[in-house]
Amino acid sequence: MVGLAGCVSFGGGEGSDDDGSGDGSGGDDGSEDGSGGDDGSGDGSGGDDGSDDGSDAPETISLGQPASLSGQWDFLQPGVSQATDAAVAHINEAGGPLDAELEVIRRDTAVDPQEARTVTTQLIENDGVPAIVGLFSSEINPLWDFLQDFEVPMVTPWPGSTFLDTRGGDKGTPEDLSDDEWIWRTVVGDTVHTSGSAVYALENDLDTLGVLNGTTEGERSYVEGFLSVYEDNGGTVAERVEVEIGGSSYQSALSRLFDAEFDAFLVSLPLESAITALSDWADAGYGRQPILSDPLAQQDLVDQVGSDIHGAWAGSPGQSGPSYDTFEEVYSGQGDAEINAWTPPAWDAMQVIALAIQRAGEATPEAIERNLGPVSRDGGTAVNNFAEGKEALENGEEISYQGAATPTNFTQHGNVFGSVTISTAGENGFEATSEVPAEDIREYVAEGEY
């Protein structure tokens, strides 16, 4: 029911919240400018226009951030914005790339592909940014050809889509731009962390599964990633029910689901719908082990559903990188936005771009693209942040950035790999209780296909 959301919203619906859009203008709105850096101004002008400033170090270097300031996913943006701003502050404190001042121009796409088209064009062509830090799966996939045409590196903390498993990156040849696909992601793909959750479920003898998921891209992609590993390794799915998001009740869907026999059930829904569904589940007293998709590991869920949810767990990527502590320290000094799975990757995205500029000696799209691989992959001095990296590069050393979310070793397709943290709900919200190491997951993801 209710679903009108997705489409019919003039704005609305959990599903589509609208916002932004009501007018047809899709979400838009605007232009939020970016307040990027610490100066809060980000007016877009200062950017260097990648093409004409050549190798001379510019005074300011602007990066473009398409953001979900409004729309269905806007609740995830504060953490990512804060991580970005924290990274900018940290990088500038360390002298900035090529001694220039780094800033970020942030513009709203409302996660609407049509808006994303306009915003990306505006950032690259009008603001003249040499690299983009952002874009969601649902923007990247339908705009794939369009984004490739820019030939500007886009390092994004958002997309989990399996579409990107074999797309993006420099194909292992940093100097040769002809085969590059320009999109890099600093967040592990759904394939990896859903594998981690599936492995953990099987290790805990949860051999049969019920699935409740929304019909949005992120929710489906999560479930499909989970099930492919789960079923290939002996797990069985007893029942799967897809629901529209934003419903006033999920009792019918739950009653259908719990008619089947299974050990655990996987819930992949946006937070608000998940709270409604799990409250219904608690009221009905169905019991059994809940497994949650990673965006659901939030305090609100535990507060609203109550003690029935204790013991539910979610496998999240992104909080297990070698420099997580460094990140967290700088981050918490910058504000109090809640950390989510995309927050540390946003920090990593900024660090690798800044390091790539530093190594390249110039802030052009091509130069950054050529250097993203070399500053991140194994080999060279391990550095935990831009400050260490800049120093090492100035000493003529090669570096390997060790990220906050993952070690940030880009694969040939521009993906990263990392361990998965299992967080379990309890009295005090979600707490990390276990970890599935990266090597264990690696067994389930074929070489070259990620």
Binding site: V8, D19, D23, S31, D43, S70, D112, D145
Partner: protein, 347 residues
């Protein structure tokens, strides 16, 4: 009287000539090594301009239905979507999800137009007799149903990912980005101008007078022996076919379709554009659409000078858009360039 209205008559022919000229110049850029150059600051305007000419076909079709015939279609986006999906699925070479058949794109485009027209025929056959506001609800519900279907049947329509790998004929011919954008806006803009010429001819002809008579007073029109149902069905199907054409061109321009491109926001945008400009006047509805889309684009640049945060600005702007719609209906019900008498509204 606005400047638009002072243009000499025969404007349909002028639009036709301009449209053909655009197509020829666009074709020249696409097919020859001739190159154009575009200052990068203008990219975003051309980008939005391409969307505008595509939506222009939608608003012309909608105006044929509402402005000229009085049919309240509040699900116009569904015909746009069906045209786009049909074209994409037939033409796509290798989609990540959903069906990709790999037929030549001209055939796919033709099928896209036909599919949208057929859907229009089905909707009108079943619903055209309903009273205005109920037709609005049925069309709205139809759009909702199709949106659910596109999202749900992943194996056929690619779910939320949509259909990828659609050939881009112009991009395939032109490597250089500046030339490609210029060629694209000229070619699609040319099609829109030719559409404008065609609908102008249609509505200037006696046929158009029958449509407007239906809008003004259906009973009287019927009493003089015109089958109003046939006329209404034709107007509805023409509008749907135009939307299908717009959808097909969009798919071939973007190289992919996804549900995110076909939300009700599209319907709302073209409705506001049509009402703002003045229904039943082809150039006025295009001008209205240009105003609303232009405001949207300009506001993107405007934020840096306002003292509020982006989030506040986004919500505030939409409040203003809603109030503009209310104000236009209340104080200028015929739109900026519309003719109140012809529309039969009280001023």
């Amino acid at each position: 009287m606005s400047a638009l209205d002072r243009l000499p008559s025969g404007r349909g022919d002028r639009a036709l000539i301009a449209g053909v000229a655009c197509l020829l110049v666009g074709g020249l850029f696409a097919l020859t090594p001739l190159q154009a150059s575009l200052p990068s600051a203008l990219y975003v305007f051309v980008e939005v301009g391409i969307t505008f000419v595509i939506y222009g076909m939608l608003v012309l079709g909608l105006d044929l239905q509402y402005g000229h015939t009085g049919l309240v279609n509040f699900g116009h986006v569904v015909f746009f979507a069906v045209g786009a999906y049909a074209t994409a699925m037939l033409a796509a070479q290798d989609s990540f999800a959903g069906i990709a058949l790999g037929y030549p794109w001209p055939l796919a485009l033709l099928v896209g137009v036909i599919a949208a027209a057929l859907l229009g025929l089905v909707v009108s056959a079943t619903s055209i007799r309903l009273r205005d506001d109920f037709l609005a609800i049925v069309t709205l519900a139809t759009a909702e149903i199709f949106h659910s279907i596109f999202v749900n049947f992943e194996g056929i329509f690619g779910g939320n990912v949509g259909i990828l790998g659609v050939p881009r004929p112009i991009a395939g011919l032109v490597g250089d980005a500046d030339t490609r954008m210029i060629a694209t806006i000229l070619v699609i803009g040319g099609v829109t101008l030719i559409t404008l010429a065609a609908v102008t001819r249609l509505t200037d002809a006696p046929y158009g007078r029958v449509l407007r008579a239906i809008r003004a007073d259906e009973l009287v029109t019927r009493s003089v022996g015109k089958s109003t149902i046939v006329y209404k069905t034709q107007a509805f199907v023409y509008g749907a076919a135009l939307a299908g054409l717009a959808g097909g061109l969009f798919a071939l321009y973007n190289g992919a379709v996804a549900p995110g491109f076909f939300t009700i926001q599209v319907t709302v945008t073209i409705w506001i554009g049509m009402l703002l400009g003045g229904a039943a006047n082809h150039r006025a509805v295009l001008a209205g659409l240009a105003i609303i889309m232009g405001l949207r684009l300009v506001s993107r640049f405007g934020l840096s000078v306002t003292p509020v945060s982006g989030d506040v600005f986004a919500a505030f702007r939409l409040v203003v858009v809603g109030l503009i719609l209310i104000a236009v209906i209340r104080f200028r019900p015929a739109g900026i360039w519309g003719d109140p008498q012809e529309l039969g509204v009280d001023q």
